[in-house]
């Protein structure tokens, strides 16, 4: 559904994307994980038509975004990481204008507005001004709006950033149900647990480069099964083991030769991310 080939973006001297290549399958929930400034939003902005690419190629649903950008955009829904709704207009007005932009007839706009606002639990507020909504409600409105024209691909750029844990969980449920309805979802996040919970496959992006791409389970397996954490001068350092016995022995041995707290636990996606992006503390 989405194909990136050596995608590049340059802002002056700075290379924000240094040749990213990947494929996203139809119906897949694909997570793009990386720290701030990794190039996640840049990728999504290029794919959604907000930013021009500097090199490489991107194809959405068989359409090259440079060759036929309008046909490519017709297939996409976009939820950006900041609120981009008209505060002075009503929820229904925001939905209606989006539907018009995508050439939807009046009856379909009315039906989709009614159904989607109900879907995101904002049906009762359809006539209210957007300014009266909370941050989480605005995010749900933006998701409903992005689904208005029934896109094949939904781009979600940090959809839960800055939201409370309960609202984040609620949005996770919503995202899962959108995928279950058949949409391909391209999600960027810097919340590792979000990627782990939601994604079929995860790509680690760092400094504009793709460091790894696989299922969350496979990425974790590349590091090991078990981790032993121990404090160091540079922060918490972890050693990884495939065998539980070896990990337990290492933890006991470390505890016998030095003081400090040692933890034996299962490897997480965060371990895989830190190791594969080279961000874990250096060896003692």
């Amino acid at each position: 559904m989405i194909v990136l080939e050596e995608l590049q973006k340059r802002y002056g001297e700075r290379l924000a994307l240094a040749g990213v290549s990947l494929h996203v399958q139809p119906g897949e929930l694909f997570a793009y994980l990386g720290p701030n400034g990794a190039g996640k939003s840049t990728t999504i902005r290029i794919l959604a038509g907000l930013t021009r690419l500097s090199g490489g190629r991107a194809v959405i649903g068989g359409v090259d975004i440079e060759a036929d950008p309008r046909a490519a955009r017709r297939q996409c829904g976009l939820v950006v990481q900041h609120a981009n709704v008209d505060n002075e207009l009503s929820l229904a007005d925001n939905m209606d204008i989006h539907g018009r932009l995508f050439g939807m007839p009046a009856d379909e706009r009315a039906r989709q507005t009614r159904e989607l606002l109900a879907y995101v639990d904002l049906g009762e507020r359809r006539g209210q001004r957007v300014a009266t909504l909370s941050g989480g409600m605005k995010r749900r409105l933006m998701i409903a709006r992005a689904l208005m024209h029934r896109p094949k691909v939904l781009f979600l750029d940090e959809p839960t950033a800055g939201l409370d844990a309960d609202i984040r969980r609620r949005l996770w449920g919503l995202i899962k149900s959108i995928q279950a309805d058949g949409a391909t979802i391209f999600l960027s996040t810097h919340y590792i647990e979000e990627a782990e919970f939601l994604a079929d496959r995860v790509a680690f992006l760092d400094a504009g480069r793709l460091r790894a791409l696989d299922t969350p389970a496979a990425l974790k397996t590349r590091v090991g099964e078990w981790a032993v954490d121990r404090p160091s001068q540079d922060g918490l350092r972890s050693d990884y083991f495939s065998d539980h016995g070896a990990a337990k022995y290492a933890a006991n041995h470390a505890a016998s030769v030095s003081s400090g707290a040692f933890t034996l636990r299962r490897v997480s996606l965060e371990d895989a991310f830190l190791r594969m992006t080279g961000k874990e503390p250096p060896p003692c």
């Binding site: 609120a83 002075e88 204008i97 018009r100 932009l101 050439g103």
Partner: protein, 260 residues
């Protein structure tokens, strides 16, 4: 993003029309939400000019047999249609840099022409409200003004020219601050020098040459001739139409520059 026309076909025409309506409706719905605030704010400057200059100038009219207010009023129509139409740039600026709603247009499959036309028509609508407000003030103050097709056409062309200029400049600025600078350096000087408050003929020769290059000078002249019942000068309309076409084309070509 908002790319040019990719050939004439049914989908493009339908989508272009829908895109235009969406952009125009968004602006007019916002205008409707703030209607009375906006109307009040657009009536303040012309009222101040009428009261201040009308009182200060008294019987010193540049037109024999006519009051200064009769001279001034068409100038205020020109000024108001310009500032209100250009005001669409401020709305676009807010949509781009504050609300980020402009991203909605960028991520949609509409063309640049639909976007620019929607914004220009919204600017002209704002200008029409402003002109109607001034004409209502003229009626209340019993200021003689003749409203005919030439006056309406001149006001509409002036508004279309400055709305197009507003869209063009709103696309190329990089921040709110740039937008404010443009108002200070382009719109405010034109408001005072474009034959709105005093006859251009009173300026030195070299200044007249410069001032006649400004579209507002021709709008003020066309409006004044219509308002006073004098024969229209086709050159004024031709120049306003040319300015509208030029600014509209510049706006079309600049929409894509608004992308990162």
């Amino acid at each position: 993003m908002l790319n040019g026309w990719n050939g004439w076909n049914v989908w493009n025409v339908w989508n272009g029309w829908n895109g235009f309506v969406a952009v125009y409706l968004r602006e007019t719905r916002l205008l409707r939400r703030r209607f009375f605030r906006h109307l009040a704010s657009m009536m303040v400057p012309p009222l101040l000019y009428l009261v201040a200059f009308g009182t200060a100038m008294g019987s010193h009219s540049p037109l024999p047999g006519r009051s200064y207010l009769e001279f001034l009023l068409p100038g205020l129509v020109a000024m108001t249609s310009m500032t209100q139409a250009y005001g669409i740039a401020g709305e676009i600026n807010v949509a781009r840099f504050y609300l980020h709603v402009f991203e909605e247009f960028q991520a949609s499959p509409i063309g640049s022409a639909a976007y620019v036309l929607g914004e220009v028509c919204a600017g002209v609508t704002r200008a029409a409200l402003g002109v109607a407000a001034i004409l209502a003030i003229a009626f209340v103050f019993s200021i003689g003004v003749r409203v005919d097709a030439c006056l309406l056409l001149a006001a509409a062309l002036n508004a279309a020219a400055f709305a197009s200029l507003g869209v063009f400049l709103a696309m190329i600025v990089k921040s709110h601050a740039d937008q404010a600078l443009l108002v200070s350096f382009v719109i405010t000087p034109m408001s005072f020098l474009g034959g709105t408050l005093f006859p251009v003929e009173n300026l030195p020769g070299w200044a007249q040459t410069l001032v006649y290059l400004l579209p507002l000078t021709h709008a003020a002249d066309a409006l004044r001739r219509a308002s006073l019942g004098l024969p229209a000068d086709p050159a004024n309309f031709a120049l306003l139409a040319a300015a509208t076409a030029l600014f509209f084309i510049l706006a079309l070509s600049s929409v894509d520059h608004a992308r990162d």
